[in-house]
């Protein structure tokens, strides 16, 4: 029997090689991939997030843990797809139009994947229409917007407006983040939530996913 605690620790300490080997071993032993994800891997990433929020982990620790998680997910994802297992939610993430910065966006995307979300990364300089298309065609129920500059953050409001215009605002939640962003700004533009860090973004996405209306 594979040692689950070792796998948990491999994610926590960012040991990608062990995380992959132990995941492989568990799958060979016919452990249910969804159960492995929900009971071992996601809790390990949640602990990484907690340590990040309490200033025990910093960006390097977060990144190597996300890398270890990714190495395990590479093995698990195809099996989950085969079984038709639903992710925690589908998030379309991108840096808004006019803004080319992606470090914060990439960190949030990695943590969301580690948190069990399916992430559609739209990249940088993303138009409001592209977010609308991702919601319609990729089934994203959460739109995550990033901006680094005070001059580009108004583009977030345009995305909210585009979702309204497309008639899908009610079924899509919008979360925002980035250096100049505040909760006040999120309220001002009608976004559903704001997080000031990658770990908090996972908790926010979970709470928003729970509020997404069931598909008709």
């Amino acid at each position: 029997m594979v040692d689950r605690e070792k796998l948990y620790q491999a994610i926590l300490t960012g040991d990608a090689k062990s995380a992959r080997a132990l995941t492989e071993e568990a799958l060979k032993e016919s452990v249910d991939p969804k159960e492995l994800l929900d009971k071992t891997l996601i809790p390990a990433m949640d602990e990484v997030g907690r340590l990040f929020e309490t200033n025990e982990y910093f960006v390097p620790e977060l990144l190597i843990s996300a890398r270890a998680m990714k190495s395990a997910l590479e093995l698990i994802k195809p099996l989950l797809a085969e079984k038709g297992a639903e992710p925690a939610g589908r998030v379309a993430i991108g840096t808004v139009k006019g803004d080319l910065h992606d470090i914060g966006k990439n960190l949030v995307a990695a943590m969301l994947e580690g948190g069990g979300f399916e992430v559609v990364d739209l990249g940088v300089d993303v138009s409001p229409e592209a977010f609308v298309t991702a919601a319609k065609d990729k089934g994203a129920s959460i739109i995550a917007l990033s901006a680094l500059l005070t001059t580009t953050m108004p583009a977030m409001k345009k995305v909210v407006a585009a979702l309204e215009e497309a008639g899908i605002r009610e079924r899509v939640k919008v979360m925002i983040g980035g250096a100049p962003i505040t909760q006040r700004y999120a309220d001002e533009i009608g976004a559903d939530g704001y997080s000031d860090n990658a770990s908090g973004a996972v908790a926010l996405a979970r709470s928003l996913a729970a509020k997404v209306p069931a598909a008709a």
Binding site: F58, I64, R67, D99, L100
Partner: protein, 386 residues
Amino acid sequence: MNPRERFHATLHYLPRDRCPIMDFGFWSETLVVWREQGYPEGADPDEFFGMDPQWIGCGGEVGLRPTFEERVIEDRGESEVVRQTDGVIVERGKFLGSIPRHLDHSLKDRDTWERHYQPRLMPDDPNRFPPSAEWRLKVEELTRPDREYPVFLNVGSLYGLPRNWFGLERISELVYDDRKLLEEIVETLADVIVSVIETTCAAGIRPEAANFWEDMCYRSGPLLSPKVFRELLVPQYKRITSVLHRHGVDIVFVDCDGKVDDLTPLWLEAGVNMMFPIEVGTWNADVVEFRRRFGKDLRLMGGVDKRILAGPKEGIAREIERLAPVVEEGGFIPTPDHRVPPDVPLSNYIFYLEEAKRIWGKGLSNIRPTSIPVRSGATLAAGALP
């Protein structure tokens, strides 16, 4: 008092006539937008706004020598892909946006370090200084006993530069994947910095301050844990600051954006004694709180909420009043907490400066007047107005 004496007195808590009136700088787009509001094309901002002299450097180059040749790899219409002089491949907007996006890096591992970067970081490379005739003239100017302006010695970076060269993700991984390589890079940079300090000071130049640039924090805290910072960087900072102190350079500051308070005690321990720019906008930093927490050992520069400059004038006046007690106490040079963005109207910026000169500068007659723009493109000095 001349600006040099005023700068020294301010940062040593000595009696002085007034606080220096200085600035951080402007987005390039800001000056373009301001031209439509009356700012004359090609004008020098310091001259136009009548500020005390600032950011005058005095040493050699502490980065790559020679640099990579800059070349455009791809034209993408509104943006272009460029290999910069530091070897980083970036996409940068042609028209807007102040920070380019990193696409790829020439530095990836030990092999690329040894082939492309280490040879460009030879401490005794004579090309770190201008050609001898030019350097002689510069030394002559900077060592004049009657020099009236302060000069800064750029002592580079131990983390910021390699972070740019590698990219944040790769350098973060290397903390765990190859710490020895990182240590070697930091030590090499320190070797270069020490060599530049020694050569500069041997020429007789005595800078008023030395400045590191790191930008290693973001809105929630540092990009490295304090533990790794202490192990990796503090020993080399100490090495550099001890050389500076030996040459009588006793003001050493770090230019670091973001939430710096977790690292500030470690910088103090490493011989740094001033932080800049204490960003209010990013994480609600407050120079009043910084002074309470770190005392007079830590000097401060920056700390003015630049976002307020785009708002009502009452808010600008309040911000100036808020900082006045720390200005009065000394050890603090107020400037906007980052470069002034284009959403700040020129008239607001002039109002800010006039208020700053009145309150922080005590309205003394040795403050140069702010020029008042007029639509024809000509300007008038405020003091010349009836």
